[in-house]
Amino acid sequence: MSDNLARTEPVPFAPFIGEGISISLAVPMTRYSLRARQAQALETLLGVKVPKKIGATEEGIACLGPDEWLLRAPAGYNMVSGAGLPVSLVDISERAICLVVEGPRSAEILRTRCPLDLDKFATGRATRTIFETVEIILLRLGEDRFHVEVWRSFAPWLWASLTTAAHH
């Protein structure tokens, strides 16, 4: 984005590698909070398919609530303007970072502090939830691969919490 200013991230660039687990910082991406009363309004505006069921994901868009979607796309994605329409498109690219939790122990490590039943959280699902006291958005990309989105100021705590759990 800038030739002049360097990014500062709240967690180490070097991934944490443990037995059956790796935790790493995802590359920067574009994120938008999309709000509308109906998914159709956004489909028309964006020209893409928008999932209707809370918890579902489709083409990088996760349905988080009845009128709320999270769009994640490669950095540089050009968002349309929703000006004047009954929608809300808000750039939140830098609000959170994403930790990639990967490996056969990933569910076990997430379960240490996340109260959801991950056996019933199938690949492809996404939800806002809580990790002990810190809010996260959890996305399951595969049996052994999760994305954990967390607001930047909480990221050092989450990093410490996850890596401590992975140590134990």
């Binding site: 800038s2 200013l5 929608v87 609000r95 240490t112």
Partner: protein
């Protein structure tokens, strides 16, 4: 010496001898022993001292119901642990245990004087005395009572161990891996259900571990379960609490049984959500209540069997049995077959099944039916017992070195009770059993009252020839509650079992009444001549057995206790020597001292820099909400006190937010970026609260509005650049925004680029100087800060912290919500009438502003305060009076909310909430301090540049 190791048998590993210490003396046991079984095998009979009378005590039980044999374990620095039950402590090489509640030694304990004087210390004695003379209570009695308190010593060092925790989910949770639990697990395995099987012992098996005939079955079962998919077996794990909706807390002990201290966690808290719960916790044998029943060597019959069969330990060379239940007979038969001499079977029942009598005869055991033990001789161990027929005849003495008690069984309904399942009384068992479930839960096996131990009779106190009010027949062994204490409580008018429990402390020891509750109930029932269910049942509450604070705190320790939120620029502040303060969940730089500077010197320098050059401040923690949609302005108009609809895009406005009760809850400057898009700011601590409040109104009261709220607090790093040189520094770095005063006046916002990065640039000021707040995507915050620091060197750029920020804003009379207001201040009280839209028919909190007390005269109002002595800085929180000469209690008319040394003005300034303050400008008020009264004058809150000339440049 009394107990000894049997030549064969048990599950201990005789090929692995283990050396350990108890009270400084070295002993040997085997791997697989508990501390209790190993000490018994070494002939030890004396394990501890009771709480109140310091009576010598041995082992009563073999499991977690043990009330007597409590020990402290020493594992090196910080790892001292008091109050552990010797029957649960697994033996390992180097184990170092000591007895408790005795001085100078276990054998010679001066505290035992209490026992001699015991007649003067009945239940509730402390209610009746220690009152005269009155002054003696604080100086003499209370310190003496407190000195006697407690069992084991308190730890004195920080615990170096770590603890961990996890959630778990299953379809079926089985608590207890005895025969009933194992059968249930076997049945469920292979059905596709996720099964978790929990047992508190070091290996599964429960009662089967004390029954060698079942060992082949146990081995087969465990092999099958270990191989089964979706079956998790957790041993050394205690399910301690049953909470709402089948949520069970359990603690797994990971390292205490190991000889070496480990880096890994000591314990793990399991928080298990189960579809269905099967409780298979078994039953606990009841002691019998008779004179001398606490003598070391008197123990539960089932415990003696467990020590023999599981650990290969005979608890004595010649055992007698006092029974009212068949199970004791079977235990004794097994002990006899294991080669232990049986002195006699005494049974208080008039008759028992012929099979029992026949087997006793076949084994050559003498039997005394319709007899009871009426006395036990021996102080530190049993020497003999005295028995007699229940009709008072046939007194005789039987030599023996241990006496076993078979008083019947109490189903373990603890977790069932936690779950709020109901109980029903069974006269035949003399116990409560589970009745109606409140959760998806069933009890199976002995904890449901189903067992094959035979049958028995229920006795409250065994018949005796002596005066019942003068014998020491114990009910709660640890707390030294006797049958006569319970009778005394009833005599004094305590009728409910909860009262009796509290008056006598029966059932309140560290075993929480596992062996005492039912006997206490029976004795009270007799004394009150009422059926047990009519007296009630003391409620079981978590935990089932005591659990460490550390396990319950889990990993929430130190930095992981609670997140400390940090900004993108925090690292720079830390590297540059900032002193931080904690604000809500954040840490913020408070000031940046240079070598040799204290806080005041640093703050004065930072303030001078802002007023004279340019200061730079990390404002990233301010809450930010993006309000988007066609009804955005309408929504804000309803939320805030002031009008928003006419605000032009590109302009900013101060917003004041009330709660519905009319009191100020938050404020902040917000900008209209487009007709349907606002960028709101909130206080640092109020961000989450304000967003939740706005969502509440939007979703619940005005769902018809087309507007959405998105938190953008963390989307932007915010750098405040404040001071006369701010524009000069900024101008070369900004693209696409004309920074001239005409194009970009105070209280406006522009979007463009800074150093190539998109920015929302606000021209706002919380300092009274020319100021900008630069919002950039968070990841670039630190780099931009460093660029500004580098480029600003020529302009005297100075980083300043929250303390200087507070001084600068106070000089201008800007309030801080939460410091100058406290949840009882209205806009009028705060002098913010101008921020209230007089023509608006409604906004949140408006109606409350018309309530009688809110419009009444004399309310406390925010004003400026100038001390007569300009060098005197008032203390924040100091109280204000009109008349300093009045006696205490004084009438206080207000207090100081903010107070600073103003470097700019060369004097102190303060803000205060003062009754009727707006009407008494110029008058003198007084601040009485411990060392004298301070005089101050009530003034305007704006101390500096009241015309605002410095802003509009």
């Amino acid at each position: 010496m009394s107990g000894y190791r049997l030549p064969a048998g048990g599950r201990v590993d005789r090929s692995k001898p283990v050396t350990f210490r108890f009270d400084g003396k070295t002993y040997q046991g085997f791997a697989g022993d508990t501390l209790a079984s190993a000490l018994l095998a070494n002939g030890v009979t004396l394990f501890g001292r009771s709480f109140k009378y310091h009576r010598p005590r041995g082992v009563l039980a073999a499991g977690n119901e043990e009330p007597n044999a409590l020990v402290s374990i020493h594992r090196g620095p910080g790892r001292f642990t008091p109050n552990l039950r010797a029957t649960n402590v697994e033996l390992h090489d180097g184990l170092n245990a000591s007895s408790q509640n005795r001085w100078p030694s276990l054998k010679t304990d001066f505290g035992a004087i209490n026992d001699r004087l015991g007649m003067f210390f009945p239940a509730g004695f402390y209610n009746k005395t220690f009152m005269w003379p009155r002054s003696f209570w604080e100086r003499l009695y209370e310190p003496a009572i407190r000195k006697m308190a407690g069992l084991g010593d308190a730890p004195t060092e920080n615990d170096p161990d770590t603890y961990t925790a996890t959630y778990a989910h299953c379809d079926l949770l089985i608590v207890g891996a005895g025969p009933a639990g194992l059968d249930a697990a076997l049945e469920a395995s292979g059905t596709g259900k996720r099964v978790i099987l929990i047992d508190e012992q070091d290996e599964a098996g429960g009662g089967a571990l004390a029954d060698p005939a079942l060992w082949p079955w146990l081995e087969r079962s465990m092999k099958a379960l270990n191989a089964a998919a979706k079956v998790t077996i957790l041993t050394r794990t205690t399910a301690f609490g049953y909470y709402h909706d089948n949520f069970i807390g359990a603690v797994e002990r990971l390292t205490d049984h190991l000889p070496e201290n480990s880096d890994g966690p000591r314990e793990k808290l399991w928080r298990i959500r189960a579809g269905e719960v099967l409780l298979a916790q078994g039953a606990i044998e009841r002691p019998l209540v008779f004179d001398g029943n606490d003598t070391p060597g008197v123990m539960l019959s089932s415990a003696a069997k467990t020590f023999a069969n599981r650990y290969g330990v005979a608890v004595g060379k010649s055992l007698a049995l006092m029974a009212v239940h068949d199970s004791g007979w079977h235990d004794v038969f097994a002990l006899k077959k294991a080669g232990i001499a049986i002195a006699a079977i005494i049974d208080a029942r008039t008759d028992v099944d012929g099979d029992l009598k026949a087997e006793a005869a076949a084994l050559g055991i003498s039997v005394h039916l319709d007899h009871s033990v009426i006395g036990v001789s021996g102080r530190h161990q049993v020497n003999s017992i005295e028995i007699c027929a229940n009709n008072g005849n046939a007194r005789r003495t039987i030599p023996c070195d241990a006496l076993l008690m078979a008083g019947g069984w109490t189903p373990s309904v603890h977790l069932w009770s936690h779950s709020k399942g109901s109980l029903k009384w069974r006269d035949d068992l003399g116990a409560y059993v589970p009745d109606q479930a409140n959760e998806n839960c069933r009890s199976i096996g002995a904890c449901a009252g189903d067992w094959d131990f035979g049958k028995g009779a229920v006795f409250d106190v065994l018949p005796t020839l002596r005066d019942q009010a003068r014998i020491k027949a114990f009910v709660d062994f640890q707390n030294d509650v006797t049958a006569k204490d319970i009778n005394l409580a009833v005599r004094e008018g305590f009728r409910s079992i909860e009262h009796i429990k509290r008056y006598t402390t029966n059932g309140m020891a560290t075993d929480q009444g596992k062996t005492s509750n039912l006997n206490g109930l029976q004795i009270a029932s007799t004394a009150l001549a009422k059926a047990v269910p009519d007296i009630g049942l003391t409620t079981f509450r978590p935990p089932y057995t005591p659990q460490t604070f550390g396990a319950l705190a889990g990993h929430a320790k130190g930095a992981l206790f609670q997140a400390t939120r940090t900004t993108n620029i925090d690292g720079w502040a830390e590297e540059n020597g900032a002193v931080f303060e904690l604000v809500a969940q954040w840490r913020r730089a408070r000031y940046f001292p240079q070598p040799g500077e204290d806080m005041h010197a640093a703050v004065n320098r930072e303030c001078r820099a802002v007023r004279g050059g340019v200061g730079i401040f990390d404002a990233s923690t301010l809450g930010k909400i993006e309000v988007v949609g066609p009804d955005a302005a309408e929504f804000l108009n309803r939320m805030y006190t002031n009008p928003w609809k006419a605000l032009e895009p590109g302009r900013c406005r101060y917003g004041l937010l009330l709660k519905e009760d009319g009191f100020i809850t938050d404020d902040g400057v917000s900008a209209r970026l487009a007709p349907d898009r606002f960028h709101l700011t909130t206080t640092t601590g109020g961000a989450a609260r304000v967003l939740n409040m706005m969502e509440d109104y939007l979703q619940t009261e005005w769902p018809d509005l087309n507007v959405w709220l998105t938190s953008t607090t963390e989307q932007y790093a915010v750098i405040a650049l404040q001071g006369p040189n701010a524009r000069k520094l900024l101008e070369p770095l900004v693209q696409g925004i004309d920074l001239s005063p005409e194009a970009f006046p105070h209280m406006t916002v522009r979007e463009g680029l800074i150093c190539g990065v998109p920015t929302r640039l606000f021209r706002v000021s919380f300092t009274g100087e020319l100021g900008f707040e630069i919002n950039v995507p968070t990841a670039y915050g630190r780099a931009l800060w460093e660029r500004l620091m580098a480029d600003g060197a020529d302009y005297g750029i100075t980083p300043y912290g929250t303390e200087a920020m507070h001084v600068l804003r106070a000089e201008k009379g800007f309030i801080i919500v939460g410091q100058d207001t406290d949840g009882t201040v209205t806009p009028y009280d705060a002098g913010l009438d101008w921020a209230v839209g007089k023509k608006k028919p409604d906004f949140v909190g408006r109606r409350s502003l018309a309530r009688p007390d809110i419009v009444a005269a004399g309310r406390k109002q925010l004003v400026g305060l100038l001390t007569e002595d300009p060098n005197m800085v008032l203390e924040e929180g100091a109280q204000i009076v009109a008349d300093p000469k009045q006696p205490v209690p004084m009438t206080m008319i207000g207090h100081v909310t903010s107070s600073y040394w103003s470097e700019t003005l060369g004097r102190s300034i303060a803000i205060g909430l003062v009754a009727n303050g707006h009407a008494i400008m110029g008058e003198t008020i007084y601040v009485p301090m411990p060392d004298g009264v301070i005089r101050a004058t009530v003034t305007s809150m704006v101390f500096y540049d009241p015309e605002g000339a410095r802003l509009h440049v």
